[in-house]
């Protein structure tokens, strides 16, 4: 068995790959701690995995951490000492928090898993990202583009993959020249939480005009093979509390948004902030286009693998897919740091199996998305029966769920294992009839309490998709694994799930998937699209256990809960 671990910076996670190179489990620490984005050492996730897979020194061949801890720590520290000072808050913070950094990884690991030091490996941060995507890809050669905030020594990288045993780092950009940190600085200015609110900026961008693009493009740009950020506009390289400078503020001529201020279509400053978001989004799209073109020029490859936090920008991905020199873009279900645990586990597997050749046979996509065995007996639902009644048994799940949805009811799901990535694809979702404006509005605004500028996403059977959406063949798998942007052709019938720019974040379903089965049943009722959003309250991680599900339906006042054992309704 090969264990991959990601921790200390973003949402911590653990991945387990077996001796055949198959991902058999993936757990995020936040599933258990219930702290959204929990970045602490994933002790609960590891403990759970040790228990469920009976892991020990005997059957673990390697444990791999997703980055080189000292390299990552030294890179920022040396930059700060050189460019700031020894007394600068960032420098001091790095020193004072050394015991909370990844440097203590092996010590933390030893508290939960007794394992010889020679079994512990460290993978280059961006290589972990590349391998997390390569795991889901069977065709090589390819070029991998990794773009995130910061990792080990680089903020962006281009890797050329001739084979899984030969991955050459052909280009990288150093700190602080970071597209990810640029977008985070804008996220911060717009009053959203850094590392969490970036997707809100992307949603907001659809409502604005990129009127600050020219000015912003002087603060960060890609020229002659170099990504350059003007550090006079940003503070993330010298401050631990603010990521933009007064000079950047002067461009926008508006105060940074207070994080508690309401931001909705009718807010007075909505348009101004939307313009800033649109400008930042255009910067990201334009720079990505240039980096991808550069990657194509230096490697000659047209098949792209894309990972790192910026790869979650589905709007930009849709624009990239329109470029002629790109034949395909493969994006892993979890492109960010938590998914990098999969890459780390895969790295240790490949190190132990130097002649391994990935089989090209297609793997069942849903097994890949929800690794880990779920035994329904392990998830005792007896306690539901105190306050809830079962309105559908296991064998009538689909029929009753379809009937309820056709009556414009909203159903929460806690079905089987949780999906690997940040998008809920049906196993931890809240769903309703996407053709009903009333149902979607209730789900989005009253239950989920999302801003109106962020509509929920549509889910549709693969065979019906072309009737509603203009899908891109180049990112086709992403519609199944993470959801991707597509132009909507039939806006009127599903208006409630369409963005301002007539696009939607589409999820395709196979007929053997839980949502696929429900959609198939709904066809006879002329319902072809479901609205799907993650089953959680905004400050909480996605629901994981049955107890979490019970708590969430109580907090959100949801009437129906679907599990693998039936449908429950409050008495």
């Amino acid at each position: 068995m090969f264990l991959g671990i990601s921790a200390y910076f973003h949402d911590s996670s653990v991945a387990l790959i077996d001796t055949n190179g198959v991902l058999i489990d993936f757990k995020k620490e936040e599933y258990f701690s219930r702290v959204k984005g929990d970045k602490s050492f994933p002790r609960l996730a590891i403990t759970e995995m040790i228990k469920s897979h009976k892991l020990s020194e005997k059957n673990i061949e390697k444990v791999c951490f997703y980055e080189k801890p000292l390299k990552a720590w030294l890179t920022i520290l040396k930059y700060s000492i050189k460019n700031n000072s020894l007394s600068n808050e960032l420098t001091r913070n790095y020193f004072k928090n050394i015991w909370k950094s990844s440097i203590i990884f092996s010590y933390d690991l030893s508290k939960y898993l007794k394992i010889s030091n020679h079994k512990i490996l460290y993978c280059d941060h961006h290589l972990s990202h590349t391998l997390s995507a390569a795991y889901y890809n069977s065709k090589l050669p390819a070029v991998s583009v990794v773009i995130d905030g910061f990792g080990d020594e680089s903020t962006s990288s281009i890797h050329h993959l001739d084979s899984l045993q030969e991955i050459k780092n052909v280009w990288s950009s150093s700190f602080p020249n970071s597209l990810g940190l640029f977008y985070s600085a804008i996220t911060d200015f717009l009053g959203f939480s850094v590392n969490e609110g970036e997707y809100k900026v992307m949603g907001l961008a659809a409502y604005g005009e990129p009127i600050f693009y020219e000015q912003l493009s002087k603060t960060i740009f890609f020229k002659e093979g170099k990504l350059i950020l003007d550090d006079t506009y940003y503070d993330f390289m010298r401050s631990i509390t603010r990521s933009y400078s007064d000079k950047l503020k002067s461009i926008f001529n508006i105060k940074e948004r207070e994080s508690n201020a309401s931001l909705d279509l009718d807010s007075s400053d909505f348009k101004s902030y939307a313009d800033i978001a649109a400008s930042a989004q255009k910067i990201v799209e334009e720079i990505l286009k240039k980096i991808f073109l550069f990657a194509n020029e230096i490697t000659g490859e047209s098949r792209f693998i894309f990972s790192g936090g910026v790869a979650m920008n589905s709007v930009a991905i849709n624009k990239l897919a329109k470029l002629d020199f790109i034949s395909e873009i493969i994006i892993p279900p979890s492109p960010g740091d938590s998914g990098a645990a999969i890459g780390a586990a895969y790295y240790s597997f490949l190190q132990s199996n130097p002649s391994y050749l990935k089989k090209s046979a297609k793997i069942n996509i849903y097994e890949m998305l929800t690794p880990g065995h779920v035994n329904s007996e392990d998830h005792n639902e007896e306690f539901f029966m105190i306050n809830y009644e079962r309105v559908a048994e296991k064998n009538e799940l689909i029929e009753v769920a379809s009937k309820l949805l056709s009556q414009n009811e909203i159903i929460a799901t806690c079905y089987g294992n949780i999906e690997t990535g940040p998008r809920a694809l049906g196993h931890r979702s809240m769903i309703c009839n996407a053709h009903s404006m009333v149902a979607v509005k209730q789900l989005n605004e009253q239950i989920k309490k999302r801003s109106k500028f962020r509509p929920v996403a549509p889910a549709i059977l693969e065979r019906n998709a072309n009737k509603f959406f203009n899908l891109s063949e180049k990112i086709y798998d992403t519609y199944f694994t993470m959801g991707a942007v597509a132009e909507v052709m039939n806006v009127k019938s599903i208006e409630a799930v369409v963005h301002n720019d007539n696009t939607a974040r589409v999820q395709l379903c196979k007929e053997d998937h839980i949502l696929g089965k429900i959609l198939k049943e709904l066809e006879s009722k002329n319902i072809f699209v479901l609205a799907n959003t993650s089953f959680n309250i905004s400050s909480d991680p996605m629901v994981y256990s049955k107890e979490d599900a019970y708590l969430a339906i109580e907090r959100m006042n949801i009437k129906y809960l679907l599990t693998e054992n039936g449908i429950y309704k409050k008495k």
Partner: protein, 255 residues
Amino acid sequence: MILAPENNKNLYKTLVEFGYAEYGSALEMLAAAKKAESPRLKIGYINHALDEYRHSALIFKVLDNEIKKDNGYFKKEFKFTPQNVVLKGYVDKSGFLIEKLTLKKFVEFIYSNEFLAKKSFEDLIKRIKNSESLKILNEIAQDEEEHAQGALEQHDNFSTNKLNEIMTEEDRHWGFAKIFYNKKFPNANLDLAFKREKIKNKMRLFYFKNLIFLNRIFDPIINFFILIFGNIAMLLKPTSSDDKDLMKINSRSIL
């Protein structure tokens, strides 16, 4: 669990600390629910968690309202960030209480700290003069009155303030903990356990109140270490991965 300083003069910061403390309690109760085998006990812990989650949201709502009324600025540090629950120590990153304590100690802890939380909350309520904030508390109290009253009928000895939902629920949690404890451990000395928790909380408060003083002592030492090790760090040269086959670089090196 760390209680907010009772005599902290900064209302905003105190509210923030209370909000996180309530959220931390919610997580502890949810963790306890997952360990409970009896369905009724599981539901009991979940209901307790539900109350604590609501209290946390309510307190942040009051904070927002207080700042708006004062025409103040909502600083970034006031924004609820889930990870602060761990960073501020309201949940111990080494384990939930239910994992670390015996059932007897766990119940003693809940009983004592719910009581101490109730006392601290009484002090906090006295400091909220703003009628709008009190109105929010009372409105929610009225919404939930039936639910709280129902519970209080069984535990009315602990009711002190029926107009305030949070107060009644803190009473209820404390009442439940006491009843459960007496039933489960009839021969135990609850007063002793309570005094022990009270002393522990006082010690925590003493530590936090003197944190600034402690920082003044330790800062020069930290500065000295930065001076020495900062210069050593500058001499270290991590291997660059530029133009390298990443699958061939040393996998055992942390540098």
